[in-house]
Symmetry: none
Subunit: 201 residues, 4 copies
DNA sequence: AATGAATGAGAGTTCATTCAT
DNA sequence: AATGAATGAACTCTCATTCAT
């Protein structure tokens, strides 16, 4: 029993070690430097060993995706303690942008990069994305029910909102809006405040 | 004198030939198939020759980026004949999204791909992107002057607007919003109409 | 005693399981897909376990070779019921070619593939091939004794015969003689008839 | 003119150097040791360089085939000076077997090995093979016209003959007939003499 | 001005085999 | 008896780039 458990733990921790190394590499040097050889070297195993724990590179990249989404999703959940739906929405948006700007590489992975992935992995990723969007839409339903929004269609509201926050996040990350690093929160606030002035009743 | 000119012209046309070939390749087969080998083969020169006209591959990619912006900018100019600034803005936004959706590869190049920005500094090229944004901001100045907008800060207005249209465009292109192809204009309209209802006086 | 026997039996059945799996794999996917990994997976043991029963991959391949010969030899025996030695020879030749053409993979294994013959010496296995040839030679002795052949040296007669039937079989299998599938028996007959007209008294 | 010629010569000699090295490797260590890396190392170039002269490994292997066939074909031609067709046939057969036994690796390449080749190469090889067979058939036509053979159908005669000589050659090469090295000519003679006694008028 | 020739570096992947447990 | 874990050594092939000519 104990032995089986330990083996299972070892196996998991090896997988985790591979994924951690991969994530580090991706952060440090970008997606193009994310090679199995480099991962292997970092964990001080041979490249062949990685294939004992993952089918191929795609599987690893897919897990990086999942990890990014998990982290992101966790951040999103933090906002649930806020009772007022509009306030929850506002804080959620703020968190979204902030998280994206602070984790630009992960945001890239989630919403921007075109990473070679097999179909299953791709579908799976899209599913996670859809869940996340559904969450946003539900929040809109609440806001509309509480008569807080000028927009009455929750789907449209969700899209408008996502456009806005994804727009600014990705423009900031891609440095198409170039502002000093410390000015980011201020800009974020200005944009969000304006958005909510416009959209909220 | 004549000779020097012809040489200059030859030099320019060779550069253009390289860039055209590169752009074609990028369109036909994507960024990963854009190799100097392939470019050289297409223009029927040797790979080494390309290095006589461009410092390295990055410089070429950067020029593709500029070319995309130029095309885009040209589209943006078409709207100038519309007198009413708000209407001009609205049409400009519509054009923006439409152009992006119809030229996803170019849009990728402009706003999504990792463009070797270091070249900008080295080559002292001016960032067309900024010009484009300045144009948008000027339009906002006009709208505000005509008292058409609820937002009074033209820079903020420009950013709000850009967020929105870049947001939806990139989500559509990256298929994070998945809708049938023919439903795109309808969705675009809904989003824009809502935006203008919210933002216009 | 009983235990030792059972162990021996287990050992044998395990060896047989490995060999069966290997033979299946070879048939299904060819010699290049015959990997120890795949064999192990098929019998649901680990690759390492195979090394408890076989020295290395070569030993396994050699046993496949022996198995092919055993099957072939069994076919050869069927002919023994024919009383007349010349007729027995003729039918044996026909069977030989037919069997080869119908079991090209096994024939490959027996006569064409590079079999690790070093194993033979090391393992002191007897070469079934030689037995098979000896059988043929004995048959020639009979034919000569019955004064049915123009050739008087049984070894030479055996070699002549084997040359002929191996020649056509391998040329057919390797598609160096290319004829429609259904024309094979006809060609076989023509060749054999001619051979026997030439060689028989 | 001189320059272009020299370049062409250089190019050809580089190709030849690659092919020679490949052929050497194949002879020394077999088809499985024939790797591009090893070829590159032998000619003291980088593996990448080989790709400047050959599309891929298949093209190299195909040329080895061609070289083997060319050598073989050349040997076959030597016999043409013999006027008497039957004597020409007999000597041709002797040469065939002798050449095969002395160049077992090449014979393998031509008639036995299953080498991964693309379709074009395969067809091309078969063409060479067919030419060679056609030659044999023409010789049979001559022999029959001179009323030297018991067999009257030239195609059948050619096949009978090829079966015989390919049979013994491949059995000798594959060591299925195991005789001391020095006994080979004697055995060859015995087999051929017998064959011609049987088949010639 | 143009290029033929060359390469170092590197990619993902597979295999037979070993050995401590 | 059985194996999980590990690996060294390969494999073919591609790319951006350099440099003597």
């Amino acid at each position: 029993m104990g032995i089986a458990e330990r083996k299972e733990r070892d196996k998991l921790s090896m997988r985790q070690a591979v994924l951690d190394a991969a994530m580090e590499l991706y952060h440090e040097k970008g997606i193009e430097a994310l090679t199995l050889r480099a991962v292997a070297e970092r964990i001080e195993f041979s490249p062949a060993t990685i294939y004992l724990y993952f089918k191929d590179k795609d599987e690893i990249v897919f897990h990086l995706y999942s990890m990014a989404f998990a982290k992101f999703y966790q951040k999103q959940l933090e906002v649930n303690s806020i009772a007022d739906p509009l306030e929850r929405l506002r804080q959620g948006c703020r968190d979204y942008i902030e998280w994206g700007v602070q984790n630009p590489k992960l945001y890239d992975l989630m919403f921007i990069l075109e990473v070679p992935m097999n179909v299953i992995a791709e579908e799976n990723c899209q599913d996670i994305g859809k869940t996340s969007f559904a969450e946003l839409q539900n929040l809109m339903v609440e806001c509309i029910a509480a008569d807080k929004l000028k927009i009455k269609d929750p789907e449209l509201a969700a899209i408008m909102c996502w456009n806005m926050i994804h727009g600014i996040t990705s423009l900031l990350i891609k440095k198409r809006i170039v502002i000093p690093h410390e000015a980011v929160p201020q800009m974020t606030n200005a944009v969000l405040d304006t958005f909510f002035v416009l959209v909220a009743k």
